[in-house]
Amino acid sequence: MSKVYAGKKVVSGVVRGEVLVSPEPLCFLGGVDPETGIVVEKGHPLEGRSMRGKVLIFPIGRGSTGGSYLIYETAANGNGPCAVVNLKPDPVTVVGCIMAQIPMVVYVDEELLKTAKDGDIAEVDGEAGTVVLYPKI
């Protein structure tokens, strides 16, 4: 059964993709390799996982403003996520997604972070500010 989560739009665009979910905040500068899209931060729940083409769901971004450029570079290299969904917006991730034109929705219910599992399919509507989750059967 699919479920609709209403949030707030940040960057427009409608995309559908496989979910990659992190229960912990994500730091792009130093935490993600732009040449591969793989999370390289030691001890991070997503360490060793690629965000390429995924609907990336995490609570909030953290770290220096250089992180915005890193999101842009990762996307420019074709290794970026197809959409970003955050519980709360932070300036670094928001600016990075605008620069890279990655559809982004924020302020979704925390339940999404708890329910969504890697491999589920999600449809992110950056116009309506919604996320539709289709659990993997």
């Binding site: 220096s64 250089g66 915005s68 450029y69 842009y72 570079e73 420019a76 300036p91 928001v94 600016v95």
Partner: protein, 414 residues
């Protein structure tokens, strides 16, 4: 957020794609911080001007904005670069970094920036007025322009400062608003501070405790100099993330204690004595022996007064054969030092004036390894803060006089 018709047109892309994208960034930042409107700015100091910060990605993004016809609506100055734009080769800044740097500087120039590449734009030709809304990056310059000049800026990062330059707008939040400029912590300072490094030590101690709050300094019996206020702000912004401070009777928003706190009570009071100063100096000194390879003065970039003092102390003398001296300064200040004969004195002693860059924002590791430097002495609390962690250097911190002595003898005198 309420936008003016002109701002709506920017957002609709009627003023080009770079302006549209930049406006989108400003609107979204405004939404995050609950800004009700945009404020017009005519003055930007651009962080992320060094490729050490912007990287390949930032450089490509800035180039993309320039290629698509981006044009700065503001007077825009650039923060330090990865190396000295003229003398990078003889100093040893790596060629590939400098190639990228020339692309980045070129793209900013194309959009209208002044490539002064300094962290002290306020003494190199960019001086906003009291109360003026600006968009500045570079933590030490932010502290100076907010506090000493009384202009108003948030702590802008690379992309948001770029967006401010392209749109001439910033969202109205944070330090742009009166209510966020009120003093929060009272710093009662014993009256023993004599020179810039003493103010850096004070700032370093206070910043660590107050973090991002607004400290109010009280107790100096003489008016701090420009150099002292520069060191104070730089240190406050390196151990903490202070963007605004007040000095009672000195900075423009604090003619007296009541004005600094707008009638509110301080959240808490700190008392600064010789004891705290001595402990802080001890924390910033991280060395085993006493050998000094490199003396670095000018973090933030030196004023002409500081260069004059260095030249006066070096006149007719020679540096220790194994010790280097870098005096970092903005190009206009160096030009003045050339004319005054200070550059010649410093060079004849064996030191050099370096422009456009600094250890913190430059491709420093390569230069240090070229010269075989493994220890650094400085009168800057900010540089002493970064030096051990960033380049694994043994670090000596003291007054300008201590540093000059170290340059002449090659040893740090305890």
């Amino acid at each position: 957020m309420k936008l003016t018709p002109e701002e709506e047109r920017m957002l609709a892309g009627e003023m080009g794609e770079p302006c549209r994208k930049a406006m989108e960034i400003q609107v979204q930042l405004g939404e995050i911080y609950n800004a009700e409107r945009m404020i017009e700015v005519k003055n930007v100091h651009m962080p992320g001007s060094s490729v050490v910060v912007a990287g390949k990605a930032g450089t490509r993004f800035v180039e993309e904005m320039a290629d698509k016809g981006g044009c700065f609506k503001t007077f825009t100055t650039l923060n330090p670069a990865a190396g000295d734009l003229d003398k990078w080769e003889e100093i040893g800044f790596p060629e590939d970094d400098m190639d990228l740097q020339f692309r980045l500087t070129g793209a900013y120039r194309k959009m209208g920036a002044v490539p002064c590449h300094t962290c002290t734009p306020y003494i190199a030709g960019n001086t906003p007025a009291f109360g003026e809304h600006v968009a500045w990056g570079e933590s030490s310059a932010i502290a100076f322009v907010n506090s000493v000049i009384g202009a108003r800026t948030n702590r802008e990062g690379g992309p948001s400062a770029l967006a401010a330059a392209l749109t001439g707008r910033v969202p109205a939040y944070g330090y742009h608003l009166d209510e966020n400029r009120v003093g929060q912590v009272l710093i009662d300072v014993d009256n023993f501070l004599k020179e810039p490094a003493d103010f850096g030590t004070l700032g370093y101690w206070v910043g660590k405790i107050v973090q991002e709050k607004v400290p109010v300094f009280w107790g100096f019996n003489t008016r701090p100099s420009l150099e002292e206020l520069k060191m104070l702000g730089a240190a406050l912004a390196s151990s903490g993330s202070v963007a605004l401070f007040h000095v009672v009777g000195v900075t423009p928003e604090a003619p007296n204690l009541e004005a600094a706190f707008k009638g509110y009570k301080p959240e808490f009071t700190l008392h600064y004595t010789k004891h705290e100063a001595a402990k802080t100096v001890q924390t910033l000194n991280k060395h085993k022996g006493n050998r000094v390879d490199l003396v670095a003065i000018g973090c933030p970039h030196s004023s002409i007064t500081e260069i004059r003092e260095i030249a006066a102390n070096l006149c007719g003398k020679k540096l220790s054969a194994n010790t280097g001296l870098w005096v970092m300064a903005a190009l206009p200040i160096k030009t003045m030092a050339d004319r005054l004969g200070y550059t010649k004195i410093i060079e004849e002693a064996g030191g050099r004036i370096i422009c456009d860059t600094c250890p913190v924002l430059g491709s420093t590791a390569a230069v240090l390894s070229k010269w075989g430097y493994s220890s650094l002495a400085t009168n800057s609390a900010k540089l002493a803060h970064y030096s051990p962690g960033s380049w694994n250097l043994e670090t000596y911190y003291g007054t300008l006089d201590d540093c000059i002595k170290a340059a002449l003898t090659g040893r740090w005198a305890e």
